[in-house]
């Protein structure tokens, strides 16, 4: 099977049953993407496919050939951090760090969704020209990413510092 991961073309033999998550972790050595449930309930496995966030554990790898897959390892080059990654460190948006790659990829996908004005369940005005980038919108949209360490305040602070319209 052929994949494009973090801008690189890779070719790998894989079982058709293999999830995108296991392909990344077990076969490609990209263990930055995490497994917390393997059933779509925790968001630790979030990666970006053509810029949209998905749960890699619920995706069969075979279906994602030819799509642009971005993992936590591909957000910045070897030596630097993506601004959101740096903001997570600054705002202590994690403790154990296990949910963190998923939170970060998810937040990047979420910011795009807000940019595109995709509403959420807490969006009060569905006709608004621009959906507010506020505390409830961010928390609702990030609620698929569990953090058992409870670093939620720091995560939201890091997201606001990076993508909040005031800072943009």
């Amino acid at each position: 099977m052929q994949f494009t991961i973090n801008g690189h073309a890779v070719e790998v033999e894989a079982d058709v049953r293999t999830s995108l998550l296991d392909l990344l972790r077990e076969q490609l050595g990209l263990s930055g993407t995490k497994k917390g449930c393997d059933q779509g309930a925790c968001g630790a496995c979030t990666v970006l496919v053509d810029g949209e966030r998905i749960n890699a554990c619920l995706a069969l790898a075979v279906q994602y050939q030819g799509r642009a897959i971005t993992t936590i390892e591909g957000l910045a080059d070897e030596q630097t951090l993506h601004p959101l990654q740096a903001a997570f460190v600054e705002h202590d948006g994690f403790q154990c760090g296990y949910c963190t790659p998923g939170q970060i990829c998810s937040a990047i996908g979420m910011a795009h969704e807000l940019e595109r004005n995709v509403p959420s369940v807490v969006t009060a005005d569905l006709t608004a020209q621009r959906i507010a980038f506020d505390h409830d919108e961010v928390r609702e949209r990030m609620s698929g990413n569990l953090c058992r360490c409870g670093a939620y305040n720091g995560i939201v602070d890091a997201i606001n510092a990076t993508f909040g319209r005031a800072s943009a």
Binding site: D38, Q39, Y98
Partner: protein, 758 residues
């Protein structure tokens, strides 16, 4: 021996001399960002399931579907013939192992139970592993495991807590404390009291549910075993595995540099033991990653309890009776009685006290320690009852607590090492705006939402675990490395300890390295009981004294330090200086270079925790909460939260704030959404997934304010008492009390789900 030849007194003697470093304000107290943060956010921190090996084989488990009985038939042929299968392990071909030495039965014993691990056909809980399949890939192992057929002879099982509690028994001890204490006649005082509360509180089973699944990557090389584990008990795991497999402890190396959340759950369970056995039989390195359902089935959680709290008070709010009794579900094979009566032993002044804990034996997965075992749910009951009493007396619940503040430990009579609970209440009340609370329930409303405020005491003991040592290496460029088999599950261990070490040895942070997570380092004690900071600090103090003695032995001749003894010098500016005369100083680099040494190394164990014999040592806090409850649906939302703590010195306010908040968030789950549901007929866990076991998510968590007194405890090393667990204590009661204030409904049965409010 004359006076001159005696070793210099220790800078910190447990229970006697305070550690002077606790009052320094250089690196200690700075909000340093996590040193391992860049690795974690880049996905480069390697966890147990992520260690690469050539020819790695993958394991999958099959679990029993009955609670008690024996396996009558095992059909494994189809699994064995399935593609990629290397080995099917059952009790029939499992290597013979010793039974696990039970946690606490020996200094390094960490067995979760005394039950043999897949040694025979007997089943003792629903979910017990009955087979392990090893295959070339994860997918092949999972598929082959699904082909295994097991039949059972079923025996009657105790799977109903209400039935089991009728045969409850008193355990021998509750973690070394007596299971029951009576001072005066509490029952008689209760009967005679002007005000009284007497209520029963229930709490369910909970699971830690760290987001990292339990996993291990294990490999044998001859007789030497390497275990890449996710554990909060490195040395205990190595020793216990050695006993099980009958090998030398020195031949077992356990590594665990990063743990994806622990909370008490990252311990030695069957999966590591089975993977090690499989690796030995197959002669292949093995990786085992539990599914989330398997985590529920073979990793114990916090146990079910039923607690009675009864309080009697005089007209002016003095307690005449404090009764806290109850039953916790347990098994005959483990020793985790969930010490819910501990807070009542130390919190309040009372004329008469009665505490008594029993356990009800059940046929279930053994329960274990989970974040503030006992104190988290014990404070739910006790602090709900205090609120009920205050309500009855029409007294502010903070004022009631002021009136029952004890001057010494109510049970031992020892002085408190440092107790500033009332200050935490006062400062918290001001910041939270407690004076805005209307004491009349159901008196604030905003549309469909009923709004209420609640408060509760948080408390957790100070522990310092024996067994820790520290190794220090100082090189002639002035760099100092401390190595301990310590644990990082998100507490920021390396960061806070680097700050501590930098402060203690007068070095900038860049000149300090703190190594952890590997049993080849100096022995660490387990990361539990919020004890790690103090345990490490005591070991570093002990090793540091040796280091300074060695340095002074080298500082001879024309060294400005020549002839001085340890208690005459201090560590400052990258070296040692004569106390009171910093011009007589020499850097570490200069001392080593003059002596022609490239490095100095020393290792020393921490002294026994004698401070606990002199003082009653506990942390405290006041948890403030505002909730809104829908009058239509009964839905509860936590809208504001403030934790005001008194936990000794805070080493790093940034990581400490996260730890306090994390405890509070877990407390929100404990109060409102979490419960592991058992089918009482079969003992089967019915909700073994994160979709059906509801941990708090982003939208459930408001901005949580935290503050602390930062008053150093003069009797703990660096003045710190540990902060990992206190955050969850008191939260359940603060929320229940706020729900009562909002709705007038007193919920004594966790979690407070909407059905209970309609």
């Amino acid at each position: 021996m004359n006076a001159e030849q005696k070793p210099a007194p220790s800078q910190w003697q447990p229970g006697v001399t305070p550690d002077e470093v606790m009052h320094r304000h250089g690196m200690i107290g700075k909000p340093v960002s996590r040193l391992d943060g860049p690795l974690k956010v880049a996905g480069k921190a390697r966890f147990a399931a992520e260690v690469p090996y050539e020819h790695l084989a993958h394991a999958a488990l099959v679990h029993s579907s009955i609670a008690r009985g024996r396996i009558s038939e095992l059909k494994t042929e189809a699994a064995r013939a399935a593609p990629g299968v290397i080995l099917v392990l059952t009790y029939q071909n499992m290597p013979r192992l010793q039974n696990p030495p039970l946690f606490g039965s020996a200094p390094k014993a960490v067995g979760a139970s005394t039950l043999p691990v897949m040694q025979n056909e007997h089943i003792t809980w629903n979910g017990q592993p009955v087979a392990l399949v090893l295959a070339e890939t994860h997918e092949q192992a999972e598929y082959a495991a699904s082909l295994i057929e097991v039949r059972y002879d079923v025996l009657p099982a105790k799977t109903d807590f209400d039935a089991a509690k009728r045969q409850a028994r008193a355990p021998d001890t509750i973690l070394g404390e007596p299971p029951a204490i009576e001072i005066g006649d509490a029952e008689a005082n209760l009967q005679a009291a002007a005000f009284k509360v007497d209520a029963t509180y229930r709490t369910p089973r909970y699971n830690h549910n760290a987001i990292e699944l339990h996993a291990a990557t294990v490999a044998w090389q001859g007789d030497e075993l390497t275990v890449h584990d996710a554990t909060q008990m490195l040395n205990g795991t190595a020793w216990t595995i050695a006993q099980l497999f009958g090998i030398d402890e020195k031949n077992v190396r356990v590594l665990s540099p990063y743990v994806g959340g622990g909370f008490g759950g990252k311990a030695l369970w069957d999966h590591q033991i089975l993977a090690i056995a499989a690796a030995r039989l197959a002669q292949r390195p093995v990786r085992i990653v539990l599914s989330r359902a398997s985590v529920f089935r073979i990793v114990g959680g916090r146990t079910t309890t039923e607690q009675r709290v009864a309080l009697g008070a005089t007209q002016d709010g003095q307690l005449t009776a404090l009764i806290h009794t109850g039953v916790a579900a347990m098994t005959p094979y483990n020793a985790c009685p969930e010490q819910f009566s501990f807070p009542a032993r130390h919190l309040y002044a009372t004329q008469a006290l009665k505490v008594a804990q029993q356990v009800a034996d059940m046929d279930m997965m053994v329960n274990t320690f989970m974040r503030a075992p006992g104190e988290s749910i014990g404070t739910f009951a006790l602090e709900s009852a205090i609120d009920e009493l205050a309500g009855q007396m029409q007294l502010c619940p903070i004022e009631l607590r002021r009136r029952i503040e004890p001057s010494k430990d109510p049970v031992s009579g020892l002085p408190f090492s440092s107790r500033h609970l009332l200050e935490a209440y006062q400062r918290g009340a001001e910041r939270f705006g407690w004076d805005q609370r209307n004491p009349v329930p159901r008196s604030r409303r905003d549309g469909e939402w009923l709004i209420g405020m609640g408060v509760a005491t948080a408390t957790y003991p100070y522990y310092r675990m024996p067994g820790a040592a520290a190794r220090i290496k100082l090189t002639n460029d002035g760099h100092l490395t401390v190595s301990i088999a310590a644990h990082e599950m998100g507490m920021g261990t390396a960061t806070a300890q680097s700050q501590h070490v930098a402060e203690r040895f007068g070095l900038p942070l860049e000149q300090v390295t703190f190594e952890l997570g590997d049993t080849t380092l100096a022995a660490g004690s387990l990361a539990g009981g919020s004890s790690q900071t103090a345990s490490i600090a005591a070991a570093v103090i002990a090793a540091g004294e040796q280091l300074i003695d060695q340095l002074l032995m080298l500082a001879t001749g024309d060294s400005p330090l020549a002839g001085f003894k340890r208690d005459q010098v201090e560590a400052i500016n990258g070296g040692l200086a004569v106390r009171g005369d910093t011009t007589r100083a020499e850097t570490y680099a200069a001392i080593l270079q003059r002596a022609g040494r490239t490095a100095l190394q020393c290792e020393a164990p921490a002294p026994e925790p004698a401070e606990l014999q002199h003082y009653s040592m506990h942390s405290f806090g006041a948890q403030f909460c505002e909730v809104k409850v829908s009058a239509i649906t009964g839905e509860v939302r936590v809208t504001r939260f403030l934790g005001s703590f008194d936990t000794g010195r805070i080493l790093n306010p940034k990581t400490a704030a996260s730890q306090f908040r994390g405890g509070i968030v877990m407390g929100i789950g404990l109060a409102l959404t979490e419960a592991t549901e058992f089918d009482p007929r079969s003992g089967r866990i019915m909700n073994p997934s994160l979709a059906e076991y509801h941990v708090p998510v982003h939208l459930d968590v408001p901005e949580i304010d935290v503050m602390w007194t930062d008053i150093a405890d003069p009797h703990s090393p660096i003045g710190a008492r540990g902060i990992g667990e206190i955050g969850i204590t008191g939260v359940g009661a603060a929320i229940a009390n706020a729900v009562y204030n909002a709705t007038g409904k007193r919920i004594r049965d966790l979690p407070i789900t909407l059905d209970k409010l309609l």
